[in-house]
Amino acid sequence: MKDLLDSILQGSSFLANLSEVALAILLLAIAGLLFAGVAAVCALVFVYVERKVAAHMQDRLGPMEVNTGIPLLKNIGHGWAQTIADALKLLLKEDIVPGAADRKLHLIAPFIIFCSVLAAVTVLPFGEKLVVSDMNIGVFFVLAITSFSVIGMILAGWASNNKWSLLGGMRSAAQIVSYEIPSGLAVLIVVMQVGSLNFGDIVAAQAGGLFHWNVFRFFPLNLIAFLIAFLATLAEANRAPFDLPEAESELTAGFATEYSGFKWAVFFLSEYFNMFLIGVFLSSLFLGGWHSPFGGLLGGFFDKGLWQPFWVILKAVVIIFLQMWLRWTLPRLRVDQLMYTSWKVLTPFAFGLIFFIGLWMLF
């Protein structure tokens, strides 16, 4: 990232003359807007994909009506502009805050969740040099900053001044806190094998093609670790089958019940962006990050330049498709089953795996 900035600075005399402070503020503003924009577009695409995937799995067609009349894009069809229409509708909707609700907290709660998810993307690698901040504690940072969303949910549930919202918020918080443990432990397995918390090191240790990826080493123990990590992060993103807190038939959208318009869109956006974050996170840790599965084929042609973000996005999309598939196939877990799964199934298995993989590594 630093070399990219240096080359830009040398090319422009205006930028080179700004003081360090003004430059820092400008960069932060641009980066922030860029990331928020990418998050919004990502969420739009994934909402559309989810609706289409859900529809085809349920043997129907999904949104087909909204195709714009722009000449070049007219013939794509399949209702591709549906989420753009939905987004516009949400932006124009009236922002209703319940009379006895706490207005300040009602306003900041969705943004706490959104900011925590957005901040975690800054350490994810999209290529060998394409990372915003190559932190030495990258993996730990992602785990730590996504735990901010617990507070956002509790505040959202509280600020709505609604019993069901409060219950939903507390259940969501309990779920996320419980599932942070197996997810952290499963990630710890990978960190233990690579010996570093840095994403660059972890991805570099998986070079060399399909069978060097972390999910295929120490077979089958790392595969089980991947499954534990996948389930735990699925629960952290409040996705089905762990989505009791936002189930419509149970608690009428849980902590987000009293939210409408733009603030609800922010909740929704952060959930889909969280799915994308988990996709890239898991693929960097377990599925080889930006390495191609072909190894040294054609002299490493598939491992260079623009192929790297391509592989990252492809693997993230595969994981996201798995998440959507699970949502539309499995029924929802009850809240006590949810807690049982976390504390009595995933956590002991994760501990056992750490122990056995540690033994294997020693011998």
Binding site: E20, V21, A24, D102, L105, I108, M135, N136, I137, F140, F141, L143, A144, I145, S147, F148, V150, I151, I154, L155, W158, L166, M170, A173, V177, E180, L197
Partner: protein, 165 residues
């Protein structure tokens, strides 16, 4: 006046203002939100002091754990029989005088003492070195801390459970 100084002043101001909100707010939830921002700003100060692992630990444990616990505690102790969410203060003026005196004393002591300072070096990654200290110099406190956490877990879970009726 470089970026380090400005960051320090911003985060220090943020921490002090949030802590002041925590102390002087009447609404309990506003106190908790004030504590949230104070803890987050303290984590940023740790980053400025080169303690990267500690900053992430602070965020994960304090914000994601202890603060959620405090919020749950507030909500479970006020909601169900109409106990007020507003909290008053006792004897604010004597408290302010005592604390202001103590603060003055501390600041005078800080400014007057000749600390054995040296120029700080480059920022280094600290995780590996903290881990090594845990396993060599600080092994006994490490094991005792894990027993302490186990005891606290069992004790708190036992004390807070529902009565068997």
């Amino acid at each position: 006046m470089n970026a380090f100084d400005i960051s320090f002043y911003i985060f220090a101001a943020g921490a002090v203002v949030s802590a002041a909100v925590m102390v002087f707010a009447r609404n309990l939830i506003y106190c908790a939100v004030g504590l949230l921002f104070a803890l987050a700003n303290v984590a940023a100060i740790y980053v400025l002091l080169g303690a990267d692992f500690l900053a992430a630990t602070q965020l994960m444990i304090y914000v994601g754990g202890i603060l959620a616990l405090l919020l749950f505690g507030i909500m479970l102790s006020v909601k169900f029989t109409g106990v007020e969410l507003r909290t008053g203060t006792l004897q604010m003026l004597p408290g302010l005088l005592v604390v202001a005196g103590l603060l003055g004393l501390l600041i005078r002591m800080i400014l007057r003492t000749e600390w054995a300072m040296l120029e700080p070096g480059e920022f280094q990654p600290t995780t590996a070195s903290i881990g090594r200290h845990f396993m060599t110099d600080y092994l006994i406190p490490f094991e005792v801390a894990s027993v302490l956490l186990l005891v606290a877990l069992i004790g708190a879970a036992y004390m807070a459970r529902r009565e068997k009726s």
